[in-house]
């Protein structure tokens, strides 16, 4: 295995494009090293992105949004007070990934690129309307986060393409987001169901909403029907029931070692309600 430490994303993309064998990018490494250890992935080229300037930085963009470097760990994300104020749901999703130790390494970008339908940080990003900056040998482009996952373990990134930053939109007034997941234990599990809700209120009434579900279909999905169920309401019981119904209806899960179809479908509705209440309270400044 060749270990590379490029000093720019252009170099990283070029290395990846020129590599002929199995290639992996290394950010936090909390998935790649596990796959290597299990013999599931034996890279010929491993491209460590952490020597690229700026990859561990969190910066406010000119429009009031945020640009998050690809090697920003969960621990750093959680320690950034201004970002936590703006996007608590995005941050809490990331902070649920693994243990304290894993938080010292794991990154939003890595969690996204691992392609897991159960990735805890991704529903929050999708609900937030986040996008990624992709660097390829030909240049850069911006793509919505929800367009990256392509099914279990797969992404839409082409060979030679590397995510070079995560971009969060400006929070704006009256906004709130939240992420909840269900796991059998209190920590250390992969989500059996995950749900992120991002909404905006004006005078108690929801004016905008985005709801994303994890672990209930082959890829993390934005569910417009869930948003429609609560937009225009003040999140009364009828709206919550409609939200839960829409969330359950959007599920296309599998039976596996972590949960059953029935369980995932039912709990998706429960979590959607609970996450919506938290997001709503945050939007109202409660």
């Amino acid at each position: 295995m060749r270990y590379h430490t490029p000093s720019s994303f252009d170099d990283a993309a070029r290395l990846a494009a020129e590599a002929s064998g199995v290639t992996r990018f290394l950010a936090g490494g909390t998935d790649v090293l596990v796959q290597m250890r299990a013999g599931a992935v034996l890279p010929d080229d491993l491209i460590d992105l952490k020597k690229i300037p700026g990859v561990t930085e969190i910066a406010q963009t000119g429009d009031g949004g945020w640009k998050i470097g690809v090697a920003v760990s969960g621990a750093r994300l959680g320690a950034h007070e201004a970002l936590v104020r703006d996007w608590p749901g995005v941050v809490e999703g990331m902070e649920l990934v693994g243990s304290t130790q894993v938080q010292g390494r794991a990154t939003l970008t890595g969690n996204l690129c691992n392609g897991s339908p159960a990735a805890d940080s991704v529903p929050g990003l999708v609900a937030a309307g986040a996008s990624v900056e992709i660097t390829a040998p030909g240049g850069r482009r911006i793509v919505p986060v929800e367009d990256i996952p392509a099914g279990p373990g797969k992404t839409t990134l082409a060979a030679g393409e590397v995510i070079s930053a995560i971009l969060l939109p400006p929070r704006g007034a009256g906004g709130g987001d939240a992420y909840l997941r269900f796991i059998p234990r209190t920590e250390m599990d992969i989500a059996v169901v995950g749900c992120a809700v991002n909404l905006r209120v004006d005078g108690g009434r929801i004016t905008e909403a985005r709801v994303a579900l994890g672990a209930v279909s082959p890829r993390i999905e934005l569910v417009p029907a869930c948003a429609e169920a609560i937009i225009g309401t003040s999140l009364d019981d009828a709206a919550l029931d409609a939200l839960a119904g829409a969330a359950s209806a959007a599920c296309n899960p599998i039976d596996d070692k972590r949960g059953t179809v029935e369980f995932r479908t039912e709990v998706a509705g429960v979590l959607a309600k609970r996450a919506a209440r938290i997001a709503y309270a945050r939007a109202n400044g409660d």
Binding site: L26, K50, S73
Partner: protein
């Protein structure tokens, strides 16, 4: 598969080793530097027995490549005591019988030290969640949590 020369700082001392780039930092600490205090319980970041700090950040050394340690500061269980003077956590673990087999103990101590450096007065719940990535199969965690809370109280007293 040529090996790479890595220069790093371990417990304050400069350390050098030759690493296959596939080897983890844990492999390098144990097999190249003879620092076997960090343990491998899972190799997947689920048990915390290999906990070390890397530039002050608590990590599982099984999820870090040895070559990534180049130019960084690594702190392991072997560097926790100051000579013969045990860290208060080490003293309290013995006093509270917070270990039975002792295999998970180095990881718990390194992780608990990182907690108390950030939060000198944690609640029981904060201790339990911070240490959720450190598995212990012997104690049921009761005496470990008590030892950490007691060490924190002692350290606050000493600092006052």
């Amino acid at each position: 598969m040529s090996k790479m020369h890595v220069t790093t700082t371990v417990n304050g001392d400069e350390a050098e080793f030759l690493a296959d780039p596939r080897e983890t930092l844990l492999d390098c600490l144990r097999d190249h530097l003879g620092l076997t205090g960090s343990k491998e319980g899972c190799g997947t970041g689920d048990c915390g027995a290999c906990s070390v700090t890397l530039d002050g950040e608590l990590v599982c050394s099984c999820l870090v490549l040895g070559v990534e340690a180049a130019g960084k500061r690594v702190e392991t269980i072997e560097g926790m005591a100051n000579g013969n003077e045990l860290h208060p956590l080490q003293r309290k673990f013995i006093e509270h019988a917070a270990l039975q087999c002792g295999f998970c103990t180095p990881g718990f101590l390194v992780a608990a030290k990182a907690l108390l450096e950030r939060n000198p007065d944690p609640t029981e719940t904060e201790v339990r969640y911070w240490l959720a990535g450190n598995l212990c199969r012997c104690t049921g965690y009761d005496k470990i949590v008590r030892a950490v809370l007691d060490a924190a109280a002692d350290m606050r007293k000493e600092a006052a």
